[in-house]
Symmetry: C2
Subunit: 361 residues, 2 copies
């Protein structure tokens, strides 16, 4: 089939212009005589790519100068493992606010070396809401307070993330970074796997307030030391350079399209269109998330009759709409509508949903 | 310029056929309606790619069934940090045999949690040789004995790696894996960053004898647990899927070209041609490594007059020969001639070297 509207939760759809550029440069990058896949990360050509990506990301996200930007491998889960090692003392309390699956993984990655406390959770309600700020039982001495800005599986998003108090707020923004303007200065650390809203799989962004890098943390290998990564420009060892390059192309594309203000507008329009189609289906389609915390990025929904799921997916694919199957934890459908998903994709999807309902309702 | 002969130490030259395939599939992979960069790592299409890559790598390297093959992110340096966490008890002796720069980094990544002992080293001689087996002062109770099969900077290669005794031998094969037949069963663990001989940057291969995965190791995050990685098919979290795909293309290319026996022949021929050109230059060019341990993969050499270095590099680039500058630790030149470097590249280089000598000798 030709290129479809791809609603994959991540790795996710990329701007076609980015793919075409990566394609065009696959055999020769600039005047290097080689692919960017084949050149040294320590040479001037790649250093320029890496620095441009950081500068553009700083512009896109309005990252203050007192924050370091790290480009790392290992995904957001590895960040979750390195947070306590870098920013907490052995056994220190670390507070976790849990609004879905990924908040729980963050705790699992930290529990072996700190007192990783669930200080609030919406799990009892099936993660159909966020735990309200007034329910947070924060520790007095926590190294940090961790939140998940947007839960990719459960489709629950903080709008906005509340203030946490004295301890620095650490936020997993993997599935909503750059989707709207964000005041980075409210956070100690913002991190995100790139494969949803920042571009390709295989690279992760960690934005850290520089004073936090002075924390002693706990014994760890030098390669797990974020201060050393910052000092080395994220090149302590060979970074995932090609992935970094594609991230840079994607960030530049977002700037060219109008930046986070424009994507906030597009994302609000796409989400409104999709939730309206669900809500106006008379129960044929159903989203169960509390309205004020419905994700603008990941929209899980259920057909009134799960026996229709397979038919829905196969007819959707025939209509050029792919990767709609829900996560195994929830079942049903999930529609991921990150920055690179055009409004036309959601329009095509909602039209398909209405036609499917007419045929099978 | 058009595609040059690229002697980069890593990221390194790739087979043009692999780049062309990746280029052709950049916008659409198979019948998915998307790029392989955009599809879920948990979908059937990518799972097939991942499994095929593993099966082909097992064939290429004749990996026995009692070894697990992991595909990880973070590079060889991250493996060096995870070795003691997975395979040694806290404070346990771990023996390191050091024949160059990378043997020393392995110790640095382990020293915070185990007794990382340098049991033999050729550093006093400037790493121009390997430390002979009879000089190894092995511990009685070591968790493992670590060696670096080929030192990328110093151009020193074990030929062959000696037996270590009771403790399992752990070998960093980053710059020489798949360059010739290897009896994996002599090792407990073989690991390699892919960006030299196995394909793209951003993915690392760890081949582990399965009984070692039963070791308790020491407290670590789940994402740093190799047993869990093995059980999850290297998909504990989102892997660097595109990099994995290009690794698979490269491994398949090596099989199609005739496998490790054929590459052993080509690599020996390339190395012989280059070392002969150096040795027959009457001292105009000089390699300082002990002859029996000269690397077949990375050939550092010096011009008799370092004042000619810049001219050598600029004229070489004009002749379509790039990335010849030596590592800053050694200076001079370094020629990396991994599997994907054709014999024609080395012939062109040696002809250039002879002409340069005639002009400036």
């Amino acid at each position: 089939m030709s290129r479809a509207f791809n609603f994959s939760p991540g790795p996710a759809t990329l701007p076609e212009a980015v793919l075409r550029r990566a394609q065009a440069e696959m055999l020769e990058y600039g005047n290097t005589g080689a692919s960017i896949l084949e050149i040294s990360h320590r040479g001037a050509d790649f250093i320029a790519v890496a620095q441009r990506a950081e500068a553009d990301l700083r512009t896109l996200l309005s990252i203050p100068d007192d924050y370091a930007v790290l480009f790392t491998s290992g995904g957001a889960t590895t960040v979750q493992a390195l947070l306590p090692l870098n920013f907490a003392a052995p056994g220190q309390a670390c507070d976790y606010v849990v609004s879905g699956h990924w908040g729980k993984t963050a705790i699992k990655q930290a529990a072996h070396c700190v007192d990783a406390r669930t200080v609030a959770s919406s799990e009892a309600g099936g993660f159909r809401d966020v735990p309200a700020r007034e329910t947070w039982q924060l520790s007095n001495d926590a190294a940090y307070v961790h939140v998940t800005a947007n839960e990719t599986i459960h489709g629950v998003e903080w709008q906005p993330i509340p203030e946490a108090g004295n301890a620095p707020l650490v936020a997993d923004f993997s599935s909503s970074i750059a989707s709207e303007p964000l005041d980075i200065s409210k956070f100690g650390i913002v991190y995100a796997g790139a494969q949803k809203n920042l571009g390709p799989v295989g690279i992760t962004v960690v934005i850290v307030r520089r004073d936090l890098l002075e924390r002693a943390g706990q014994p760890r290998a030098p390669i797990f030391d974020y201060r050393a990564h910052a000092a080395a420009g994220s090149m302590l060892n060979t970074p995932p350079s090609w992935n970094w390059y594609v991230l840079g192309l994607t960030v530049k594309w977002m700037l060219d399209e109008g930046g986070v203000e424009e994507f906030a507008r597009r994302n609000a329009a796409k989400a409104k269109l999709l939730y309206s189609a669900i809500d106006n289906s008379g129960g044929f389609y159903r989203n169960e998330v509390a309205v004020g915390t419905r994700s603008r990025m990941n929209v899980p929904f259920f057909l009134h009759d799960p026996a229709l799921d397979a038919l829905f997916l196969s007819e959707a694919k025939e209509a050029g709409l792919v990767a709609l199957k829900g996560h195994r934890v929830l079942g049903g459908m999930r529609v991921s509508i990150y920055n690179a998903m055009p409004e036309a994709g959601v329009q095509t999807l909602t039209t398909f949903m209405q036609e499917f309902q007419k045929a099978h309702g």
